[in-house]
């Protein structure tokens, strides 16, 4: 994907797709205030695959909901393509943790994928064709007439990914997308997402508690920890474009990076 953006800062070498500065988030008010995230910075470049890794309950879902415009942060700024967002943004699509519930059971998979396009005002033939194309891209060719509840968890997750792809957003935000499928399905889905990212050039920001998954997928791993959560480390991985579930994970640099993250998460 080749996209040009307005250069907001002359000093910036690569134009940023997303820029988060000093973001803080809390639930509740006054004495009840529960600080979840404090003073978080994040840069997302075009075409990058970023994993955000942190322990359960640290605030990953909260962070992703802020980034997707579903929650308004208490402080700080979130810019997408150079403009600050104040709610859900057409450049952002989300694959939810609770994917099976995020699909509408009264719609076929084709209708589910086409639904956001209908919201954009696209005609029926065009949106159905696009839905079929994207279903095929995630390995569900010819399954458009099935209902989500006729499918396995892994297939439902593919539908959710197809829906996000069809929406044609610049950034895909994914919240622990593979947490509730079995190990083999999980590996298949990870490789599918990597493959799609290379083919389509979308930018992906994925949140997970799984260190191996974070490292295997990402160009950059952002480690968040502590309470309130903040960025405690950033690791640029260097495993190249073609990754393999066995070879990549056997790479000494993989073990080294994993150890570094473990140490980071153990302290505090």
């Amino acid at each position: 994907m080749t996209t040009q953006t307005p250069t907001t800062e002359a000093t910036q070498t690569a134009p940023l797709l997303m820029k988060v500065r000093g973001m803080s988030m809390s639930y509740g008010e006054g004495a009840q205030e529960n600080k979840i995230i404090e003073n978080l910075d994040l840069d997302v470049e075009f075409g990058q695959f970023i994993s955000i890794v942190g322990p359960s309950g640290v605030g990953k879902t909260t962070l992703l909901r802020c980034l997707s415009g579903l929650l308004r942060p208490k402080a700080g700024t979130i810019e997408v393509s150079g403009t600050q967002i104040s709610g859900p943004h057409p450049d952002l699509a989300v694959v939810f943790q609770d994917y099976s519930r995020s699909l509408m059971p009264w719609m076929t998979t084709r209708e589910n994928v086409a639904f956001p396009l209908q919201g954009k005002g696209m005609g029926k033939t065009e949106r159905n064709n696009l839905a079929d194309e994207n279903l095929a891209a995630v390995g569900l060719a010819g399954q458009g007439d099935k209902f989500p509840w006729e499918m396995s968890g892994g297939m439902q997750q593919r539908v959710a990914i197809a829906r996000a792809l069809a929406y044609n957003a610049k950034v895909l935000l994914m919240d622990e997308p593979f947490a509730s499928v079995d190990a083999q399905t999980r590996f298949d889905l990870e490789d599918l997402v990597l493959d799609l990212q290379h083919k389509l050039g979308v930018t992906i920001l994925l949140v997970t508690h799984d260190i191996d998954e974070a490292l295997y997928l990402a160009d950059k791993v952002v480690v968040i920890a502590e309470k309130p959560a903040t960025v405690v480390d950033e690791i640029i991985t260097d495993f190249g474009d073609t990754r393999d579930q066995l070879a990549t994970k056997a790479d000494p640099r993989f073990a080294e990076a994993r150890a570094r993250i473990l140490v980071r998460l153990r302290k505090d």
Binding site: G69, G87, P88, A93, M104, W106, P116
Partner: protein, 258 residues
């Protein structure tokens, strides 16, 4: 929903036996002589039913009653669904209208009839209004329940993909509340027939209810009971039809609950 494990053949036998027992009890009561003598026996009622079926007067009356009942019911369903989805999905409206709706649903609409007759006269418009007011509450209350139970993952999805309000209403809110709406609509279908007949008895607006009163005045108790029987049959038939439609329409719901 749990399916009954009983075989359909046995079920039919049980039902026939139940009806037979009912007829037996009826006949016993008549025979015991504790009831006024004008009360017709089972055979007389069956004769009356036979006579009614071939009577053009009956079919005309039935048509009038059905038309009023259906019109009131459809109007109430449409208004109830639109109003209910709006109230149930907007928290502020839901909270502020709570008391009003609880009051309205327990208000005896039939008691309001004299006022409605005074305003509109003793005609089918009046009948439709009373039927509609009676049908509105079950639909409204059920729809509000349904709209409230919006899955949070669905709400997030709708927000993230920036689905416009009207599309959300039609393709998300309406179908997700449909299991509840269907129950409300089915309940109010029975109410519609009941109230329509009742209104006709009280106000003498044309229809089955008026015929029942006329037959009573003419001392034709067998015919009066035959008309009553048909009023019940129609209500039951409509409810059964709706249940059938509901089962087809909500296939996704049952699958989803498993």
């Amino acid at each position: 929903m749990k399916e009954s494990t009983i075989s359909p053949g046995l079920l039919t036998v049980q039902r026939v036996v139940a009806i037979g027992v009912l007829f037996g009890i009826w006949q016993l009561i008549i025979a015991s002589g504790t009831m006024p003598s004008m009360l017709p026996g089972v055979t007389q009622i069956f004769a009356g039913i036979g006579e009614t079926i071939v009577s053009p007067l009956f079919w005309e009356a039935l048509g009038k009653t059905l038309l009023a009942a259906l019109t009131g019911w459809v109007l109430a369903s449409v208004i109830g669904v639109i109003l209910g989805l709006t109230i149930g999905s907007v928290r502020f409206l839901d909270r502020s209208s709570n008391i009003l709706i609880d009051f309205g649903r327990s208000f005896p609409v039939l008691a309001l009839m004299p006022v409605v007759i005074m305003l509109l006269g003793s005609n089918s418009i009046m009948e439709i209004v009373v039927v509609g007011l009676s049908c509105l509450w079950p639909v409204l209350v059920q729809t509000i329940y349904g709209a409230r139970r919006q899955e949070s993952a669905v709400a997030d999805t709708v927000a993230v993909f920036r689905i416009p309000v009207m599309l959300r209403f039609r393709r998300v809110l309406l179908p997700s509340a449909m299991p509840f709406i269907a129950t409300g609509v089915r309940i109010s279908a029975s109410i519609a027939i009941l109230v329509a007949v009742g209104v006709e008895v009280i106000s003498q607006a044309p229809g089955i209810g008026r015929q029942i009163t006329l037959m009573q005045q003419a001392q034709r108790w067998d015919m009066a009971f035959a008309y009553l029987f048909f009023a019940g049959l129609v209500g039951w038939g409509i409810a059964a039809l709706l249940q059938l439609g509901e089962n087809r329409l909500l296939k996704w719901k049952r699958q989803n609950d498993d």
